[in-house]
């Protein structure tokens, strides 16, 4: 009862505070609960930190940002409803969602209403649908994976690869993109293993990998599943180089998998370990503020919020259509736009180009082995 | 048209090595009230279940209205004109008395289609009210059957058995657990129904007083075979019957 009353008061207060300064509303539609809460909550915290910074520095075009959160519950249908609600409540720009399966649904609503949407999703399909209002904060798997293809082929010298992937919208997107990459690099996929969402037992999958004759393994799953896979692979003595994209070398996976994560190499679009002072600084501040380390989702949220600021200021007014038009073909450089952290360009589909990194996990730490140019 | 409603020919049934029923035959004529009695384990329940088609006899045949009941499901047997009551309480507790009784008649009205698209009472409200009146349940018509007393529920059970106008009604221990006043009422109503409609009854019952006063003919089973047959008075004075009951 007391808790309820407190919550009620708190929300009433925040509502009043919101009304008092509701100058420009930005909606964060994220996976704050459900299976995707790990990704969505961090993304939201990244946005929150950037918004506080922006507001402290005078806001956007002199207006304070009113950040409103909407919980998609990691349910595509609900995310659609939440985007509708955010638009009803006159959000200027939408931020989210992180899970691709939600974004492909809710971006339809944003498009129908002409509201720009900055997404954290990395599935290739998102920018392939000709939606003029969707923009990424991290490039799609179809842009990231080719960088990995040449690494597997040239640096690892592997021509036979096994693929283990999560059989979800997210994993399937990565899987399909990797198939293209393998084909264009002359890499043969000798074993193709789909796994379930929330799968806990990877023994059979690793046993299959072991006898597949592959020279390297490409793994594309979400955090916990990646960690469970790595633990099982270590146990069975898989002994093959494991490569992946972003997730598998993330700090969360390293924390969960412990020593089993050592030796994993991965392409990473954004990482707190990047040899870029702005990112290191942002990550340090984030950790001090929230008590846990910033991952790629936190950085995406953070720079996404700054993107809204910079694009709006480039337009000069709060005009949704002009915002979307402006952003197509726009490049922002980190020198004049520090909040963007790294130079970034958007093409006319909303796809993003940026430098990225090749990392390896050594002694439980991400180490940058190479910086890869934007493509 | 024969007057034989139920014909039992050479029924035997054994479970494992135990012969529950041995070569039993008898006929029941229209309008008769037949009592089937016997000590525990005499095979009367087995015989009863053979008549209901629930047990398949090893040999012999049961015919109702000149049709064999072998392999017949309960619903089909009911359509053939066999109504029954149950030993345990067998009403539909969360339906009103009226609904219980309409249900008992509705499957004999029209087709599946008319039962979906036709009137919701299948045109049976008047008939059901008559039945309720006959069993003196008017004041309970709209009560939930489950909220009735035990004896009242027995009356509803009997009313349901009669609703479809059966030619043969099997009563499975109708007197069990019913208090004396209610028992007199039940007996009175069963008799009246038999008198008015000429319906044939077969009664299994432990309560001797009840059987003797209700039935017109009694068959006594012991160890799976008929040991006596006759009017209540004949049975009362039959030494074999007395031995079977007392000697165990």
């Amino acid at each position: 009862m007391i808790r309820k009353a407190t919550l009620l008061t708190a929300s009433a207060l925040s509502l009043m505070a919101g009304l008092a300064s509701a100058d420009v509303r930005i909606a964060s539609v994220a996976e704050l609960s459900g299976a995707g809460a790990a990704a969505g909550a961090v993304w939201h915290d990244g946005i929150k930190m950037a918004v506080e910074e922006i507001n402290a520095a005078g806001g956007i075009l002199g207006e304070q940002i009113d950040l409103v959160e909407y919980d998609s519950q990691t349910d595509p249908q609900n995310s659609r409803a939440m985007v509708q609600k955010a638009i009803d409540e006159e959000a200027f720009v939408l931020m989210g969602t992180v899970y691709s399966s939600s974004t492909v649904v809710n971006m339809l609503v944003a498009m129908q209403n002409g509201v720009p949407q900055i997404t954290g999703s990395e599935s290739p399909t998102i920018t392939a649908k000709g939606n003029p209002y969707i923009f990424r904060t991290a490039f799609g798997a179809q842009k990231g994976l080719p960088k990995l293809g040449s690494y597997i082929k040239d640096d690892l010298g592997a021509s036979k690869v096994a693929v283990i992937w999560a059989n979800t919208e997210f994993g399937k997107g990565g899987h399909d993109a990797f198939e293209n990459v393998a084909a264009s690099n002359g890499i043969e996929i000798v074993s193709d293993i789909p796994t379930e969402q929330a799968q806990v037992d990877f023994a059979a999958d690793v046993a299959k990998l072991k006898s597949s004759g592959a020279e390297a393994v490409f793994a594309y799953m979400t955090e916990e599943e990646s960690a469970r896979f790595l633990i099982e692979a270590e146990k069975q003595g898989l002994g093959l180089p494991i490569v992946g994209d972003t997730v598998i070398a993330s700090q969360k996976v390293i924390d969960l998998a412990g020593s089993a994560a050592n030796g994993v190499s991965s392409h990473v679009g954004l990482t707190a370990e990047a040899p870029i002072p702005a990112i290191r600084e942002m990550a340090a501040k984030f950790e001090a503020k929230y008590g846990y380390g910033a991952d790629h989702n936190a950085i995406k949220g953070y720079l996404g919020a700054y993107t809204v600021k910079y694009v709006t200021e480039a337009v000069g007014s709060f005009d949704r259509q002009a915002f979307a038009d402006k952003m197509h073909g726009l490049c922002l450089d980190a020198a004049t736009h520090p909040g963007i952290l790294m130079d970034a360009c958007w093409d006319d589909t909303g796809e993003l180009s940026r430098e990225s990194f090749l990392v390896q996990v050594v002694d439980g730490k991400q180490q940058i082995t190479k910086t890869l140019p934007a493509n | 048209m024969t007057d034989t409603v139920l014909s039992i020919r050479n029924i035997s049934k054994s479970f494992g090595g135990i012969h529950a029923v041995r070569d039993v035959s008898f006929d029941v004529q229209k309008g008769e009230v037949l009592g089937l009695i016997g000590p525990n384990g005499s095979g009367k329940s087995t015989l009863f279940n053979c008549v209901l088609g629930q047990l398949k006899p090893d040999t012999g045949e049961v015919r109702v209205n000149d049709q064999t009941v072998a392999g017949m499901r309960a619903a089909a047997l009911n359509k053939l004109g066999v109504g029954r009551t149950f030993q345990q309480l067998s009403v539909f507790p969360q339906m009103s008395v009226l609904e219980n009784i309409i249900l008992a008649g509705q499957e004999h009205q029209g087709t599946m289609a008319t039962r979906l698209f036709g009137p919701s009472d299948a045109g049976l409200t008047a008939e059901a009210d008559q039945m309720i009146k006959f069993f003196r349940l008017e004041h309970l018509r709209d009560e939930m059957a489950g909220s009735l007393s035990y004896g009242q529920q027995k009356l509803v059970d009997a009313a349901m058995a009669f609703m479809a106008g059966p030619s043969l009604v099997l009563l499975d221990e109708p007197a069990g657990g019913v208090n004396l006043t209610m028992l007199a009422n039940l007996k009175d109503r069963l008799r009246a129904y038999n008198r008015e409609h000429g319906t044939t009854f077969v009664v299994i019952e432990h309560n001797m007083e009840f059987v003797m006063s209700l039935c017109t003919r009694i068959i006594v089973l012991a160890e799976g075979a008929i040991i006596a047959e006759g009017t209540p008075d004949e049975i009362r004075s039959n030494q074999q019957v007395i031995d079977a009951y007392l000697g165990g």
Partner: protein, 292 residues
């Protein structure tokens, strides 16, 4: 061959944990006709007790595990029976099923909100050394899990068969009315069943979580597997649940390895449907009577 042995051994190791959950499930069903839809969450939760005690309170691991088992016996056993099952048992099974579904949701959301939505590493109780058996990698935790789970179930079986209390519990499960006439304190016996279920869940939790990692949603998979194992093996037999658990562990792994990774979840389900339709009492169950 090595691959097959690997899959078989891994399946047995996982299956022994499923068996623990399934045995508890079976016990509750026998003692009180409770179909516990929160059984998976019961296995998920004790690991978080351990984490809370070690990480937040800084207790040493062995002490934390003992306390966690104690807490599980108390909360998932006694409190669950007192506050959820007891008031509802006379309403029939469906309201209780709904209540346990809600309880599962409550536990899951509670852990997520009050502990963490993220997966957590969980300390292993055993050294991580790996032995090679016919080319298959078998780790010490695999063997230990199998041995402890089997030992627990066999111990439980002995307890039920050899001790007076155990026999009273069996009598209660088989025929409560007769047991009462014989002077058995049925209420107490049913309570013991719930306490044992709490302990079994805690043991399963502590054994499985180092491999599965502690996450609020872990119960969804485990609960389903426990059902299937219990039914396939035989709802009214402890050894049924034991065999069912091992069987499902092996079949799940074999189907992932040799049938279809995409349809791996379907294979246990098809087995379940087949068993229910062809042999509803389960592979080892007896068709009549309930026996512990």
């Amino acid at each position: 061959m090595a691959e097959f042995i690997q899959i078989l051994i891994s399946g047995l190791s996982a299956g022994s944990i499923y068996a623990l959950a399934a045995v508890g499930f079976t016990l509750l069903w026998q003692a009180s006709q409770t179909i516990n839809f929160a059984q998976g969450e019961f296995v998920m939760l004790p690991a978080f007790f351990v984490l809370a005690l070690t990480v937040k309170l800084g207790l040493p691991l062995p002490l934390a595990i003992i306390l966690a088992i104690f807490l599980s016996v108390l909360l998932l056993g006694a409190v669950f029976k007192k506050l959820v099952v007891e008031p509802m048992i006379q309403h029939g099974t469906l309201p209780l099923v709904i209540a346990t579904i809600a309880l599962g949701l409550l536990l899951k959301e509670g852990v997520k909100e009050f502990y963490s939505p993220l997966g957590q590493p969980f300390p292993s109780l055993f050294p991580q050394d790996v032995l090679s058996v016919f080319g298959a990698a078998v780790s010490i935790p695999d063997i230990a899990n199998f041995v402890i789970a089997m030992g627990t179930i066999i111990g439980l079986q002995l307890f039920l068969a050899r001790t007076r209390t155990g026999r009273c519990m069996q009598a209660t499960a088989q025929n409560p009315d007769v047991a009462q006439i014989l002077g058995v304190d049925i209420k107490k016996m049913v309570l013991y069943t719930f306490l044992i279920n709490g302990a079994l869940a805690a043991i399963a939790s502590v054994l499985i979580t180092p491999i599965y990692l502690a996450k609020f949603s872990n119960g969804e998979v485990l609960g389903l597997v426990a059902f299937i194992a219990a039914i396939v093996g035989g709802f009214n037999q402890i050894r049924g649940a034991l065999v069912g658990g091992l069987l499902i562990g092996v079949i799940d792994n074999l189907s992932a390895g040799y049938v279809s990774a995409e349809y791996r979840q379907a294979v246990p389900m098809l087995l379940l449907i087949f068993v229910i339709l062809v042999r509803p009492q389960g592979l080892l169950g007896t068709s009549e009577g309930r026996a512990v």
